[in-house]
């Protein structure tokens, strides 16, 4: 199989009605409901190869999760074709369901009122995992995730981070070929986020499964995925390697200067480089095109009392922020670069 996931002209339209606020709006809505169609996903084309780890990026309501729901068979596409590991997901064949898994950061799939181990035993039956293999995988995953001592505790009594680790464990127990992670680190502290990222990297290195991630944390994306798909307004605006993504705004570097005293930031030099000043006015971060890097740096070193400076690549977070402020920076792209 050349591709694990193939979507062609995939589209999903939702229908909803608008209701005016207040009592009159409520009364009026009893007999008058202006329905409108919301195109959540439009002409979405994508191919994903086996073993790839890709990220779906985009603002809230961009259509990332809708695409994921169509890929997992939770919802039925309005039009277009989709194949995941050779199955049409919305038909929900049992063989298909046995080979995928979905982790929802905002929704628990573990049974709340029982210990996680009971849920895992149930999943063992559902996925028909032989006892010996189940034990091996449970030991391996619980040790990778460092949750050996949490398995017999009621899920409702666990912290969010612990619960998320157990959610991951539940989803990986049956060695799925394709794993969908919808905001797996949402609401977690930095340490927990990093633990989960490390687990995903280790697991992927070991098993070479295909992983699709959506996340608003750019750190997740940078750490996990080599390929990004940017979705805005239900259409694909970028599909390519992460390095290429950071160049959407041009080939730029971030240069940070520390000065020995506060600087007049009203001077003509700064606005061209999107300066970000600190409160005391003695530190600035500039976005400088690579071709002007040398001359701009020399000019600032000569004209200002620079005590220290550093250069770094344009962070993906900053690129993303710029694109969200001005979506036209990333033009729609219909074709995959898989």
């Amino acid at each position: 199989m050349e591709y694990v996931i193939e979507s062609q002209n995939l589209a999903k339209t939702f229908r909803s009605y608008e209701k005016n606020p207040g009592l009159w709006g409520a009364i009026r809505s009893l007999w008058f409901r202006p329905y409108k169609e919301n195109r959540a996903v439009l002409d979405f084309n994508l191919q994903v190869k086996p073993g790839e780890m890709i990220a779906l990026l985009g603002p809230n309501g961009a259509g990332k999760t809708t695409i994921m729901k169509m890929w997992t068979g939770i919802i039925v596409p309005s039009s277009g074709q989709v194949q995941v590991i050779g199955h049409e997901p919305w038909k929900r064949d049992k063989q298909f369901r046995k080979r995928i898994s979905l982790v929802m950061g905002q929704k628990s799939q573990l049974w709340w009122d029982i210990p996680a181990l009971d849920s895992f035993l149930l999943l063992q039956k559902y996925y028909e995992i032989p006892d010996r293999e189940f034990k091996q995988r449970l030991d391996m995953l619980s040790s990778l995730l460092q949750v050996q001592d949490k398995l017999k505790i009621h899920v409702r009594k666990l912290s969010l981070g612990e619960r998320m680790k157990l959610e991951l464990l539940a989803s990986f127990l049956h060695s799925p070929d394709v794993i969908f992670l919808d905001e797996p680190t949402i609401g977690l502290d930095l340490v927990a986020q990093e633990n989960i990222r490390n687990f995903l990297l280790d697991y992927h290195k070991l098993h070479k499964c295909t992983i699709v991630v959506t996340s608003h944390y750019m750190a997740d994306v940078e750490a996990l995925c080599k390929r990004l798909i940017l979705i805005i307004g239900g259409t694909k605006h970028f599909d390519g390697p992460i390095e290429q993504f950071t160049q959407i705004l041009g080939k730029n570097k971030i240069v940070t200067f520390n000065f020995s005293k506060a600087i007049d930031f009203k001077q003509d030099l700064w606005p061209d480089f999107e300066p970000t000043w600190n409160e005391m006015g003695n530190q600035v971060a500039l976005r400088v095109p690579t071709e002007h890097l040398k001359e701009v740096t020399v000019q600032i070193l000569n004209e200002f009392p620079v005590s220290e400076f550093s250069t770094e690549k344009l962070p993906i977070e900053r690129v993303m922020k710029k694109i969200l402020e001005n979506p036209s920076l990333a033009r729609p792209s219909g074709h995959s670069s898989a």
Binding site: I74, I75, R97, M104, Q106, S119, L123
Partner: protein, 270 residues
Amino acid sequence: MKSWGKWSQTIRIWWGQYTAYRINFFLQVIGPVLVFFFVKYSLWREIYKGIGNSADNPVMIGGFTLDSMLQYHGWILVFSMLTQGNANFDLSTDIRLGKISTYLIYPFNFWEYQTAGFFAFQTLEWPVAFFTASILAACNVIYFPTAAALVGVLMLAMFISILQFTLQFLAGLVAFWLEETWVLRVLLNIITTFLSGAVIPLDLFPQTLKSILAYSPFPYMVYYPVKVAMGLHPLEPKVFIILSAWALVFCTFNVMVWRRGLRLYTGAGM
């Protein structure tokens, strides 16, 4: 064998969930039917008293003396426990809030999961029903039939509970189309309760209505089994066929509605 393992483990999970909150469980099982029983108990006593019933002058209403009327409602209490299933399961909320998404991913169908929940609930509820029946018998409100009749009654209860479950499931699936279905479910509950003879015995209904109801599943859900339990009616094998046929009809509707509804499902909240 693998399939049995899935079912038994799912039933165990449901047991765990039902018994996690013990007070809630007992209130759910006993509460509504017990309150309903005492309301009817008081009501019928007052009705009989109002029309001059006394030990010397026993009055009959629709062929029921006060004692037999109270026995009728005592058996309804027991039967409600045996057959109501997890009537409070809120499938419609699960659909509306997108809670069924998780179960659409697992290689164990959603209806199988819910049916296992129903069986789990029944296995917990039946001992409570036996206990209640024993207390009512000890208080001379009801009288146990012969062992053979009791087995027949329990078999009836099993068939009726399956029919109830398929009907409740269908009512829940309407949530694919309607945002709020509780009014519909309450209406269905009231209609079922009334037309099955759980409030007033069908003997007091007009003959025309009784004849029409004979073509519906309602009389077989309460009136008929209670009469059998009271020894007032023989147990006819055709009733099992009627109950199975209705359950099959609702199952067919469930499959059709589920397939169509899933096309509208939005998986909200994810």
